[in-house]
């Protein structure tokens, strides 16, 4: 592809090996990008259901999910709209803890996440197990705000952030893959920032 005449880009001091290709550091900012109006969800009414190909389908309420072992993520997040945010801290529980409660049937290969708004996203099971995904309610020690998915969102930091469904209410284990909201709308099925898997058709 051609070099763009006159474009040198922002100064790139020595190459930042934490920045996936095509991303820039958003610094202290945390842009939001949603396709819907932000819902206001009362924690007293919120529940999360994990079902589908599990031994024991389970629904947690706010108190129930807090009774699971606390876990947190410290590290970077990457949005497909080209910003990355370094050194974020999210607290909640590991998805592994939820799967330990429900058990996983051997034929399960994928998970389909759904939000209160009807937003959906799909992930291979391997992308949410072994310490790779969390259900979180705190950011930097404070409750997650509604714009950022509060009271509770999925967090899958090694993939582009549209996979980290806001306002999560259900995780369904399946034996097949089915595209979610952005995936049907032209975005990549997996969304690995290091492979720059932004849109359908990217490697």
């Amino acid at each position: 592809m051609p070099v763009t005449r006159g474009f040198t880009g922002r100064p790139r001091g020595g190459g930042n090996d934490r920045l996936p290709p095509g991303q820039h550091d958003t610094g202290a900012g945390w842009p939001t990008l949603t396709a819907e109006l932000t819902p206001q969800i009362d924690v007293d009414e919120w529940t999360l259901t994990l079902d589908g190909l599990v031994e024991q389908p389970t629904t947690w309420d706010w108190r129930g999910i807090h009774a699971l072992p606390a876990d947190s993520y410290f590290g970077d997040i990457h949005c497909v709209t080209t910003w990355s945010k370094f050194d974020t801290t999210f607290s909640g529980v590991s998805v592994d803890s939820l799967l330990e409660v429900t058990g996983v049937k051997p034929e399960a290969t994928h998970v389909f996440a759904t939000s209160t708004t009807g937003y959906t996203t799909n992930l291979p099971l391997a992308d949410i197990t072994d310490g790779k995904a969390w259900i979180v309610w705190d950011f930097d020690g404070k409750p997650l705000t509604p714009e950022h998915g509060g009271p509770v969102r999925l967090l899958v930091p090694h993939l582009y952030f549209w996979k980290s469904a806001k306002w999560i209410t259900r995780l369904e284990l399946r034996d097949h893959d089915e595209q979610g909201f952005w995936e049907r709308n032209g975005y990549h099925d997996r969304g690995d920032p290091w492979l720059e898997q932004r849109y359908q058709g990217d490697a």
Partner: protein, 241 residues
């Protein structure tokens, strides 16, 4: 969340030759591009523009399409952000004849296919996808289905203001008084719910495009005007405060 418009999206990069550049004051630059192997778009979709430095570094950003699908060129309207990497390049450096990498159309959600009675509410440069919709509506005679309300600080900061007014769009300026098409003067203010109510009558869908703050403000007044939140489709860009 259902999908009704069968909407193509392009799955590979192509090139776009800049055929026209129009710099509109300090704030905006209008680009008209000839896209190779072009896939037709549906109003509301966007392109991704990618710039490439000699050392291989690239920067890519999304820009809504302003043109009618029938237009032989793809029109973008870019707002220049201070220190913005891609917008400043497009505002200050780009010239007719330059070749950019482009990918599009993209997006199957924030689209209007000309069949649904809809209200579009834009803040500043958020008006761009709605200009494509209004041009399409004018050409296909579907204007009665499409209503537009646009808000900006001043008339200068609202791209396509003339075209919007000619279409009969409602315009709210927040920092200067504005002479409405009916001859009355509207005192500088944000959009009032009373101003949205008549526009929202009979619509099946609302589209809101602008900054995060603008979108949440409009979400509230749409709610007050009785618009169900599950009929509202949102696209956010611009400052994220």
């Amino acid at each position: 969340m259902t999908q009704i418009v069968p909407t193509p999206v392009a799955s590979s990069w192509t090139t776009a030759v800049v055929r026209e550049v129009e710099r509109l004051g300090q704030d905006f630059v209008k680009l008209r591009l000839e896209v190779a192997d072009r896939t037709p778009h549906v109003p509301g979709q966007h392109y991704v523009v990618r710039l490439r430095a000699p050392d291989g570094y690239t920067a890519q950003r999304s820009y809504s399409i302003a043109s009618d699908p029938d237009d032989p060129l793809v029109e973008l309207m870019v707002e220049c952000l201070p220190r913005g990497e891609v917008s400043s390049f497009l505002h200050e450096v780009v010239e007719v004849g330059d070749v950019l990498e482009a990918r599009g159309p993209i997006g199957r959600w924030f689209v209007w296919g000309g069949t649904t009675p809809a209200l579009c509410v834009a803040g500043g440069s958020g008006v761009v996808p709605f200009v494509s919709m209004l041009r399409y509506a004018r050409r296909t005679g579907t204007e009665p289905l499409l209503r537009i309300a646009a808000s900006a600080q001043t008339r200068e900061r609202l791209p396509y203001a003339d075209e919007l007014e000619a279409y009969g769009a409602f315009i709210a300026l927040t920092r200067e008084n504005h002479l409405q098409t009916d001859g009355s003067e509207r005192v500088a203010a944000h959009i009032y719910p009373e101003e949205i109510v008549p526009l929202a009558e009979g619509i099946e869908r609302a589209y809101v495009c602008g900054s995060v703050g603008f979108v949440s403000f409009v979400g509230r007044i749409l709610g007050e005007a009785g618009v169900r939140s599950d009929t509202v489709r949102v696209e956010q860009f611009g400052p994220t405060s």
